[in-house]
């Protein structure tokens, strides 16, 4: 350990209200047994589990850094590295999809894989790592799945049609604190797909409901709320996701804590749109 490192720990100690002695005696050389799903390349096209032993895992590593270390080792042994997705590594992009010991984004609540630290694992643990599994999220390679189905759902209506130009004066559109907060909570969805991975029915309702809620709660999005609900649900159904059984596994595993209250809102929006909304085809033409 370097001096700098120890200082950092002392600094942590001074600032933290709970004194955790393991921060002084950090675990730097955990041994893990990794059971990883490999699919494609030199592995079976239908996929198989391969077990790797990994030494010197530091508890300060993130889960993805641990996989980086594994991949460096595999490359140095001239083996094929494990394909996994990542981008921001700070819990905002939603790409780091994998199911760790039966939980999408790992067992910790409110945490993406990239934000999951190895201190939550113990020396000697066996860790099973699988891709998100859903018919609508086909595996591309190893842990990488194709989530374009989500993009197509967004393209179907997950936006507002606003003319470009000068931004309006914010105070001109009053929004209550309650609505702003509810909308913001829904907007926290990073589109990662953990809800689909967690749902026993592989349903995408939590994702779609987060997008529908986020927009329908604000004045700018309300205008197209009915059309949006109909179009997004239609696309969701076409993609082959399962139906919602209100099991709530999605909320339990969502790294952003999106609530199933949004699903109830989507149901309300959809039911009222189905019964009362008059869809008018744009016939073109018009003045100007």
């Amino acid at each position: 350990m370097e001096i700098y490192f120890i200082n950092l720990k002392l600094f942590n100690f001074v600032n933290s209200s709970t004194i955790n002695f393991s921060t002084f005696f950090a675990m730097e050389n955990m041994h893990l047994k990794l059971k990883i799903w490999r699919q494609g390349g030199k592995f079976a096209p239908k996929g198989e589990f391969v077990t790797y032993e990994l030494d010197n895992v530091s508890e300060h590593m993130s889960f993805l850094e641990m996989l980086d270390v594994l991949n460096e080792k595999l490359i140095s042994q001239r083996e094929e590295p494990v394909a996994f997705e990542h981008d921001c590594r700070e819990g905002i992009c939603g790409t780091c999809s994998m199911v760790i010991n039966g939980h999408p984004h790992g067992p910790n609540a409110g945490t993406t894989t990239c934000q999951l630290h190895m201190r939550f694992f113990k020396d000697g643990d066996t860790v099973t790592i699988e891709p998100f599994r859903a018919k609508s999220f086909p595996v591309i390679k190893d842990l990488v799945v194709d989530r374009e189905a989500f993009d197509r759902i967004i393209q179907a209506g997950g936006f507002i049609s606003a003319s470009t130009g000068q931004a309006q004066d914010a105070n001109a559109i009053p929004v209550s604190k309650e609505l702003a907060s509810a909308s913001f909570d829904a907007a926290a969805c990073i589109g990662c797909g953990a809800c689909v991975a967690a749902c026993p029915n592989a349903s995408a309702m939590l994702f779609v409901s987060a997008k529908v809620s986020h927009l329908a709660l604000l004045p700018q999005g309300k205008v197209e709320a009915k059309r949006r609900a109909l179009a997004m649900v239609k696309q969701m159904d076409q993609e082959g996701f399962g139906n919602c059984s209100n099991i709530t596994a999605c909320e339990a595993e969502c790294p952003k804590g999106i609530s199933v209250e949004n699903i109830a809102r989507l149901n309300r929006e959809y039911i009222s749109a189905a019964f009362a909304f008059e869809e008018k085809e744009d016939k073109g033409g018009g003045a100007g």
Partner: protein, 264 residues
Amino acid sequence: MSWLTNTLSPVGLSWFGGFLTSSIGKKVLMALTGLFLISFLPIHLLGNLYLMKDDGGRDFNLYAEFMTHNKIIKAVSYTLYLSIVLHAIQGLLLWRQNASARGQNYAVKVTRAVGTNARAATRMGWLGTILLIFILLHMYQFWLQMKLGNVPMSSYGGEVIKDLYTPVMVAFADPIFVVIYVVSMIAIAFHLWHGFQSAFQTLGLNHSKYTPFIKFLGKAYSVLIPAGFAVIPIYVYGDTMGWWKIGCGCDGVWDRAECMIECI
């Protein structure tokens, strides 16, 4: 376009077909039919309580007679049969469709839930299957026999009516039937432990002021109503076995065993 959309198109309701075949529409049908069945069970239970009355089945038979001849109740009962059929078919179809949406199963899968029971919620199809078998048996054994008139007749105050009480008593004296009945009531308890509140969520009725109460009501209902049903066959069976006649005054009697048998 689905077959339902096509079928409803000539009457100008293709949009309604589209709604019913959407993922949310299917669930709305489940919720509405489920809630209708929920509203019926307490009424059914109240009638069944007459079975425990010690009047040789008079009130129970009069009640059954009333239920089969009142026009409004007849209309409601046809809605009920339709609800059971729609709920069962749609439920089994959803079960199949949802099971296939996963594709490949996980090697390790842990299902967590928030505000409901994950074990009940993930087994609605199995629980429903038990209920379907029970309902079919139930309809065959009592409803169909009543309709076909394969039941004895009884006369109360000059009025001769069907005596449903006797076949029910015969069934309840059979321990195998009692076990099937009680197991089915346990299945319905779990089905509704998740289903009661789930139906409200499906209909979009989730509100911080009402949902906690709905969840409470659902739990109370799913314990009390099935327990109420289950108590009746247990009581009747116990009655025929003499379990409830403890104070026979045989203690200290010279031939105690004979006294007990006589007493029962």
